[in-house]
Symmetry: C2
Subunit: 417 residues, 2 copies
Amino acid sequence: MVVEILAVGTELLLGNIANTNAQYLSQKCATLGLSVYHHTVVGDNEKRMTDAIKRAMKRSDIIILTGGLGPTEDDITKEVCSKVMGFELVEDAHTKKRIAEHFKASGRKNVTENNWKQAVVPQGAKVLDNHNGTAPGLILEAEGKTAILLPGPPNELKPLFAEQVAPYLRSIQPETICSQIVKVCGIGESRAETMVLDMIDAQTNPTIATYAKTGEVHLRVTAKAENEEQAKKLLKPVVKELKKRFDINVYTTNEDENLEDVVVKLMKKHGLTVTTAESMTGGMLAGKIINVAGASECFKEGFITYSNKAKKKTLDVSKATLKKYGAVSEQTAKEMAKGGVFATDSDICVAVTGFAGPENTAEEPKGLVYISCYIKDKVFVKEFHFTGNRMKIREQAVVQALDLLRRCIIENYKSEK
Amino acid sequence: MVVEILAVGTELLLGNIANTNAQYLSQKCATLGLSVYHHTVVGDNEKRMTDAIKRAMKRSDIIILTGGLGPTEDDITKEVCSKVMGFELVEDAHTKKRIAEHFKASGRKNVTENNWKQAVVPQGAKVLDNHNGTAPGLILEAEGKTAILLPGPPNELKPLFAEQVAPYLRSIQPETICSQIVKVCGIGESRAETMVLDMIDAQTNPTIATYAKTGEVHLRVTAKAENEEQAKKLLKPVVKELKKRFDINVYTTNEDENLEDVVVKLMKKHGLTVTTAESMTGGMLAGKIINVAGASECFKEGFITYSNKAKKKTLDVSKATLKKYGAVSEQTAKEMAKGGVFATDSDICVAVTGFAGPENTAEEPKGLVYISCYIKDKVFVKEFHFTGNRMKIREQAVVQALDLLRRCIIENYKSEK
């Protein structure tokens, strides 16, 4: 089945925001085995919206509309779509009650008359309760075509889609689609592709697709079958083979888990604490770790030692090392990591030092980064050559620092599994 | 004049990336006074691309196409657009030479035959040299319509647009458009709007538009006139009035400058050094400051004191304070900032402590944050109540910490202007 995504909103046409809803919905449709051939954006304009809906109805089976469901006069998505598809608008008692409750819960007193506009729905449409706002989602079916109307704010659209639209789409799909992610770190995209080229070339069902992320590669395996059980059965050997090929480079096969989640989970499992000693990443590494809820169990303290003086004073990096090898060197990275453990009495310290640019000289080659990890009285260090601008280089360094931490814990706590 | 943005790329339809090019181009068009009524995305498919181009030609004056200019067989944007508009494709010696030079400079040896496809251009088109890649930009004019073809990678598209497309669009515009940004921090969007409501209500030319950013509000003033001088003359009194109304809350009127740039500039101007003492932001504040090139002059060292133990040991926060008021309190924030200055001998320290969630209890109200700044032997502290998820709360805290630092420097170094 073919899906078309039609976003409504002047803020998109003015460039105030990017169309991240289209990205989210496209990803989800791909996972569900639905094809998306068009994204369209129009403003809150009846003529242009009508044309766009009619055109989408001709060339696609399902049209997902986002935005324009608000209470103001400008918001006309529901009205226009109902008109095009021949639906009458009627007040929905259930939705009206929900809106009243929503206002009561949020302590709003001055509910103006136009707020009740959101309780009006196309007669015969499926109404999807919105738990994060007042505009319900709507599903309209007519003449073999389906229109799905969703509110524009991503924090309303995403849960509505995940909880109510995805199951609906699955139910009208003749086949069941299941997919499984395999997240890999420490291997570049082209090398990852080469490693599975034979599998990709031979694939029919399941299929494998690779996605490059900053410092990571995600492989998505998707299978179609008559039912979920059969689809999952098709996935299993392929995922197993990928895990075998990528081995320790696979950090998770869980859709919702990212690298820092895995690292914090590993530390908690082994009861470890970590500290960070950052130069060029300047706190970004610690910032990532601390964004994991509950990180306080394993992260107590970190240091940003941007100057040589701070490296010496706080991390006890020796003057001789800095003089002989420089601040960006294997030796300095090692001493920073060791110093971090001794300064905090934590189990592990990860240290990062490098040149992020913008300058790029023979003495300070932009993108040269050393990352070290002190663990169980041993210190590991890796040299990297990143490309891109200052921010991009620092982001890649953070990913690789998290990954080094992950590998060091796995390697050094193998026996304690 | 009406512009339509047509992005080509399967990676957009699969949701691998968001259409940030459309956002960038829309913003730029708005600044140039051009109206954008449609965004469209199609894949590398001849039929759908042809339809999209023909439709855009009917309803718009200018169509900007992005993506699909690469060297592979899949890349067909140039071919399809030339066909629709009746252009012959011919090899361009100048572009061929540039591509050869590009490969030589990047040390690539195996230049395959298909790379020369990028040297083929529509006969009679304007060729825009791409300094960051091998696909040139192209401008095709026929029957009163213009197609502008740009490469998909943002790091190629943006400089091409800024340096060559924007001047072209200005040259074909009957009017000159000038705009000026006024960036405000420390005032919410609705309050900011209220403060200029009379100006917005009375506006015809120039116009004022407000844009909400995390912790900030940007006001864009746009004027149309016969020439640049007259447009700028129209802008001047409006910008002056905005600066007067928002006073110290305006941190810059420079398009390319963000809050951390301003803060680093201020510190450099007064020869100041700063340290950071972060709890819930966990290094994100330092990370922002260090992302400014040349920040090493004023930032030497920072601390992430996530645990109470670290706050005591590293920042000398007293046990009594932590016990009596808790880690998230005005008192602790103040002692953290003072401790940061004494630990590093810097001129200033900014400290952040708060509850980022996900828990939200009476004892630990999510979003309660204290930010303090120790400067010239005085300590300032502010209380905030942020909403949103864990990441959003931490991002807002970083913006407000930078803003407090900015205000404290301005207030305390007034006489040294």
